[in-house]
């Protein structure tokens, strides 16, 4: 192999490969350009949208054309609020306006659709990126067109079939002949009638002409009579004037000679004048603020007070009507105590989410107070300071404010004559035998009070479960003074304190008469 052949062989392979790559790359570039020519680039287009009731047949790349020339394409079709949102990319150079009309049109029987756009009026502003084409015409799909055509064809077929049936055969031919004969007869009759009535018609017209001429003549010849009529009308009006003057004379005084009727009328008028003068005087006083009514109307402060008073009255009546009052009477038997505890309570409910409770309690445990007695000088053999615990049997008072949160109620205030808090969990139940829900049919109630009682180790905690099988009636079971140990006086055997079980019941009802007494209680 010569050097030249070696050199050729050295570059031939890379050359062939390079040529191959160039050709193939050129083909790819040609494809790229070819495909790109059919597309609408983002720089030279704007993205707009339109809503269609029926976007069937529209898809991405569906052509948009104006005057048969493609100026854009559909970018996307999606459902939005039950309508089809069609995103379009339109060439800017097409200069479509905001009042452009978009129409869906079937392109072929294969179901291809194309969007025709009428660019809009030159006065309207140009469409901008993101605008909506408001004027949209949903064209009938090819299926609907075929359906309509089929119906029309069916109708025509039925008509032609009916005609064929009625006109076919000898009978049909005779019917047709008869129809033609009748039409000939009708036309002849019309012709005759026109001939007969033409003379009469001319006569009527001549009569009308004569009447109008006569009227014209009368107007000319009887001119004097017409003038006389006008004069008569003038006389009548003159007479009317004189009658009115006479009446006026009768009503006005003339030399003290007045008829009885005229006098009566005059008296009445005089009284009316007096009354009017009184009214005028009265209104003047009112206007100037004199007298009670005048002050009432003229004094702004008084008016404002009156307004406030009326508002207070309205507020009062509103509270009166919205306030509910519940009376609660219950009795519980305390087992260790061996006695019953009675309670009379009132529950004031201004709003469903809050209430006030006032209770008078007859507690057999009594009210215990501790006092310290210091002997000065101290007695020999006895302590200088003596503790004296006095238990008295007196009524206790509870006054609580309660706030309700759904099933939970929080209470605070005075419980059995000491500060305390409480919490209720009430569940409404609808029993099969009852037609309505019973509120707090099952009520878990926990009270904590007597936080600083000297004769107790711990605060007095009471828990009870209340059950209302019927409206207005309930049963109750629970434990009182849960935290403290039972404490009984050894000498009197009186139960002084400590946990004690109780069971009881009560009734509650709303009292409309009582509630008016409590309407003046302020509500925060």
């Amino acid at each position: 192999m010569s050097d030249a052949e070696k050199a050729v062989k050295q570059w031939m392979t890379p050359f062939k490969v390079g040529l191959f790559v160039l050709v193939a790359t050129g083909v790819l570039i040609a494809f790229w350009n070819f495909i790109g020519q059919g597309r609408f680039g983002k720089d030279e287009t704007l993205l707009v949208h339109a809503y269609f009731q029926d976007a069937s047949g529209l898809a991405s790349q569906t052509r948009v054309q104006a005057a048969g020339i493609a100026i854009g394409e559909v970018v996307d079709v999606r459902l939005e609020n039950g309508r089809a949102l069609v995103l379009l990319r339109l060439a800017k150079k097409a200069q479509s306006r905001k009042d452009a009309v978009l129409r869906k049109r079937s392109e072929s029987i294969l179901g291809d659709f194309v969007l025709d756009i009428l660019p809009g009026s030159p006065q309207a502003p140009l469409l901008e990126d993101g605008d909506e084409i408001l004027r949209v015409l949903d064209a009938e799909g090819i299926e609907q067109i075929f359906s309509s055509l089929t119906k029309i064809t069916d109708d025509i077929s039925q008509v032609t079939a009916a005609l064929r049936e009625s006109l076919s055969g000898a009978q049909g031919t005779s019917s047709l002949t008869e129809i033609v004969d009748n039409m000939v007869k009708i036309s002849r009759s019309l012709e005759r009638m026109m001939e007969d009535t033409s003379g009469k018609l001319e006569h009527i017209l001549s009569n009308v002409d004569v009447v109008s001429q006569s009227l014209s003549r009368i107007a000319l010849s009887e001119e004097s009579d017409i003038k006389q009529i006008v004069k008569n009308i003038e006389g009548v009006t003159r007479d009317m004037r004189s009658v009115m003057a006479t009446l006026n004379a009768l009503l006005s005084p003339t030399q003290g000679q007045e008829s009885e009727g005229v006098l009566g009328v005059k008296n009445s008028i005089q009284k009316l004048e007096n009354s009017l003068a009184n009214i005028e005087e009265l209104t003047r006083k009112v206007k100037e603020g004199e007298g009670t009514v005048g002050k009432l109307l003229a004094d702004e402060r008084l008016g404002q007070r009156l307004s406030e008073t009326l508002e207070d009255i309205a507020d009062f009546t509103q509270r009166l009507t919205s306030l509910n009052l519940e009376v609660d009477v219950r009795s519980e038997y305390l087992f260790r105590q061996g006695q019953a505890k009675n309670t009379f309570g009132l529950r004031l409910i201004p709003r469903p989410d809050k209430y006030y409770r006032i209770e008078l309690i007859d507690d057999p445990r009594g009210s215990t107070s501790v006092s310290y007695i210091q002997q000065n000088p101290p007695n020999a053999g006895s302590p200088a300071v003596q503790k004296q615990t006095v238990t008295t049997d007196k009524l206790k008072i509870s006054a609580e404010f309660a706030k309700r949160y759904s099933l939970l109620t929080l209470r605070f205030g005075i419980i059995e004559s000491s500060g305390g808090i409480g919490i209720d969990l009430g569940v409404p139940i609808k029993f099969p035998y009852s037609s309505k829900w019973i509120e707090n049919a099952l009520l878990l109630r926990v009270d904590a009070f007597h936080f600083s009682a000297e004769n107790l180790d711990y605060p007095r905690l009471r828990a009870s479960l209340r059950f209302s099988p019927l409206e207005h009636v309930y049963l109750q079971v629970g434990m009182d003074d849960i935290l403290n140990r039972p404490n009984r006086d050894l000498t009197t055997n009186k139960y002084l304190g400590g946990r004690d079980f109780f069971v009881g019941g009560g009734i509650y009802f709303t009292d409309e008469d009582l509630k008016s007494l409590f309407t003046l209680v302020p509500t925060p």
Binding site: K16, V17, A24, V27, G38
Partner: protein, 272 residues
């Protein structure tokens, strides 16, 4: 107590069943082993392709062999494929009076499916078989062993240029197939079937998108790697003299064709 020590009686169907099961197992084992070997070889090729020495001349030689040598064949195949497809689709669309759709139908079919598959098959038949035979002959004549003796990595020297050439050249062949196919389709549709040239190109422009062309090119690249890898693997592991080389070539052709069609389906699903 008397114990029966005679083996249980064997039936002929039992032996047949056992033999059949053994054969199925052997075939399964063989295929799985081949697949695993091919994957390992692919990793070796990948590893060697990024390590020097880079044998550019070998690579160019293989590009010339696979690409330049197959270009005419691919163009011819593409042209006739486009022609026959245009002819048949025009006949079908004439029924609906929708011959304007011939252009886009042919374009989409060629760019997405026909071009990569047919180009890969052409390369398989022409270059793949030659590769397998060449490597098989080198293997049975111990030339590969000689390379190893000379401290030349046979994978880097023989396989890497072929696989890389397949990867780079097949997409270009696909592009040529696209062009030739569309030209053939245009000739038949416009020249013989009387479809308007404007309609043909306008409709094709409207429906054909760059992703369609790119899909074909991507498939071509994958097929290029698979065809060269399978051919090289079969040739590289050939044994049994000339007969073994022939057997390896046949197996390589079958495996390549099957791989092309299976991968064509899988890629079609994955890309859409």
């Amino acid at each position: 107590m008397k114990v029966n020590l005679k083996p249980p009686k064997r039936h002929a169907w039992m032996d047949g069943l056992q033999q059949g099961a053994s054969q199925v197992g052997a075939v399964f084992k063989g295929r799985v082993t081949e697949l695993g070997g091919m994957v390992l070889l692919a990793f070796q090729v990948l590893w060697c392709s990024i390590r020097p020495p880079f044998r550019l001349r070998n690579f160019l030689t293989q590009c010339e062999f696979i690409g330049v040598g197959s270009a005419f064949l691919v163009c011819l195949t593409g042209a006739f494929s486009g022609m026959v497809f245009a002819h048949q689709s025009a006949r079908a669309f004439q029924i609906f009076n929708a011959t304007s759709l011939v252009g886009p139908t042919v374009a989409l079919t060629i760019t997405r499916e026909l071009a990569p598959v047919f180009s890969a098959l052409m390369v398989t038949m022409r270059a793949g078989s030659a590769m397998c035979t060449e490597l098989g002959t080198m293997r049975v004549t111990e030339q590969v062993d000689a390379l190893e003796t000379m401290a030349i990595n046979p994978i880097q020297y023989l396989l890497v240029p072929r696989v890389l050439a397949g990867l780079c050249v097949l997409p270009l062949l696909v592009a040529l197939f696209d062009f030739a196919g569309m030209a053939g389709a245009y000739l038949v549709a416009v020249g013989f079937q009387g479809i308007s040239a404007g309609t043909f190109w306008l409709r094709t422009q409207r429906w054909l998108e760059w992703p369609d062309v790119a899909e074909g090119l991507m498939k071509g690249a994958v097929f290029g790697v698979v065809v060269t890898m399978v051919s090289c693997y079969k040739g590289f592991h050939a044994s049994g003299g000339a007969k073994g080389v022939g057997k390896a070539t046949t197996e390589a052709m079958v495996a390549c064709a099957l791989s092309i069609f299976i991968l064509d389906y899988l890629l079609g699903v994955l890309l859409h």
